[in-house]
């Protein structure tokens, strides 16, 4: 069921990122960062999902984001969520009990990683990005939004997860 939710929810979040949230930037100009709804949703969902489902979420969310953002090639926005999904599942495996606030750290690292990948992509395409301005006006604002947004997002997604029937995935990698 989580797969179907990903196919509906993540494109919708990507659409929101590319429409409403861009318009909202006018409220706090000249800063122009915005919450990475897709990234936050993937990390929040992966906390209680199977690895394969989380990987699916990372691919769907990343590709949906890139399809709506013609500046970057498709696949760029998949890497950071993918790495963070593996990080979440690894931490979950290594420690018996992990505080929910660890999610904040994951979101922070994921945001920074995503921006580093975007910056590398731009640079490789010959697009000159003023690094200091990019970090000050965009990355820090986005980081703040994501940290603030992870708890509400987790709260909503966790309630959805609890309502849907959990299904055993034959390709699940997560060891029992």
């Amino acid at each position: 069921m989580g797969y179907y939710i990903a196919l509906i929810l993540l494109p919708l979040l990507a659409i929101l990122e590319n429409s409403v949230l861009i318009d909202l930037q006018a409220l706090y100009a000249p800063l122009y960062g915005q919450p990475s709804l897709v990234l936050v949703a993937i990390i929040a969902w992966s906390w209680h999902s199977e690895l394969t489902e989380a990987i699916f979420w990372a691919f769907v969310g990343g590709i949906a984001s890139d399809l709506l953002n013609p500046i970057v090639p498709v696949g760029v926005s998949v890497i950071a969520p993918l790495v963070m999904v593996f990080a979440v599942k690894t931490i979950e495996r290594l420690f018996y009990q992990v505080s929910i606030f660890t999610l904040i750290a994951f979101v922070a690292v994921g945001t920074i990683l995503h921006h580093v990948i975007i910056f590398i992509t731009f640079s490789s395409q010959g697009i000159i990005v003023p690094l200091a301005e990019y970090i000050q006006s965009y990355s820090i604002v986005t980081l703040a939004f994501n940290i603030l947004g992870i708890m509400p997002m987790y709260w909503v997604l966790r309630r959805i997860q609890k309502r849907i029937p959990q299904r055993q995935n034959p390709w699940a990698v997560t060891p029992r």
């Binding site: 318009d23 990987i55 709506l68």
Partner: protein, 285 residues
């Protein structure tokens, strides 16, 4: 066991990241363009709907301004308005400067009860340099006649030399052919001021008795003698004195307070008739 699990995770992650890089490469070189177009179409359509809705709700701007053409038009309109406002600003600044100058002239006119004035704008200067003169925009229609003194709040400018219906040419006191009978403020000694042909306002004080002590900074006024100018119009200030014993009189360099190069408005004294004293110079037969 745990190491194997960790290694398998790393291999899986590496494989997926590698897959992403392959997808990125294919996308960057356009090989995925058909698939991207198919997938992006519904998303773009939904984004457009959401965008329009959010723009309407959140933006205070007219929706027309969202198009590039409308923004270009608005930019052109704003540039035109800016040019108009800059023109207006320049005109207003000019008016402010005129206002300051005219108010000073008005103060001067108010302080001189016995004299009637006509205010005139300077509209030209002597273009050949033979005489130091200016042309003003008032003439016989305004009651001007040859010989009328021309002044400002800072002192004597000169006198009307030629006059037409609408304009008048004013011979400046800096002209070499200008002679003005003057009186020193402190010593009350008399002399004659002659122009030196310079626009800087430098004139020369001549024919002052040797026994008169002239000090630098002393003010000089018209004496009224000779009948060409009313008395007590300021001329300038003594800058330096040249007292040569072999000479019969002493001379001094005088600087007018007026900057003749930037003179824009003058006052013409209309109720002063230059006296013709030549009748007393001819012995009666």
């Amino acid at each position: 066991m745990r190491q194997n699990w960790f290694a398998s995770r790393l291999i899986l992650l590496g494989s997926l990241v590698l897959l992403c890089i392959v997808i990125i490469g294919l996308s960057a070189f356009g090989f995925l363009r058909p698939i991207e177009n198919v997938l992006a179409s519904p998303l773009a359509w939904l984004t457009e709907i959401t965008n329009n809705a959010s723009s309407t709700l959140l933006s205070t701007e007219d929706p027309e301004t969202q198009t590039i053409e409308a923004l270009q038009q608005r930019n052109a309109d704003l540039e035109r308005q800016l040019a108009e406002i800059q023109d207006e600003l320049i005109a207003l600044r000019e008016i402010a400067v005129d206002y300051d100058r005219l108010s000073e002239l008005l103060d001067y006119v108010s302080s001189t009860e016995n004299l009637d004035f006509v205010t005139a704008d300077v509209i030209g200067r002597d273009q050949y340099g033979f005489i130091n003169s200016i042309i003003v925009n008032k003439g016989t229609r305004d009651g001007l006649t040859v010989g009328m003194p021309v002044t400002t709040d800072l002192g004597l400018v000169g006198r009307i030399w030629r006059v037409t219906a609408n304009t008048a040419q004013v011979q400046l006191i800096t002209d070499r052919n200008s002679f003005v009978r003057v009186r020193l403020q402190d010593s009350r000694a008399e002399g004659v001021v002659q122009g030196r042909g310079l626009e800087t306002g430098a004139v020369e004080l001549l024919f002052v008795d040797l026994d008169v002590s002239i000090s630098a900074g002393e003010l000089i006024y018209t004496s009224g003698l000779g009948g060409n100018f009313p008395a007590d119009l300021p001329i300038g200030q003594v800058i330096s004195v040249s007292n040569v014993e072999s000479e019969l009189t002493q001379e001094a360099q005088v600087s007018s307070l007026i900057d003749f190069t930037t003179l824009e408005q003058v006052l013409i004294v209309t109720n002063f008739d230059p006296a013709d004293l030549t009748v007393f110079e001819e012995p009666e037969q």
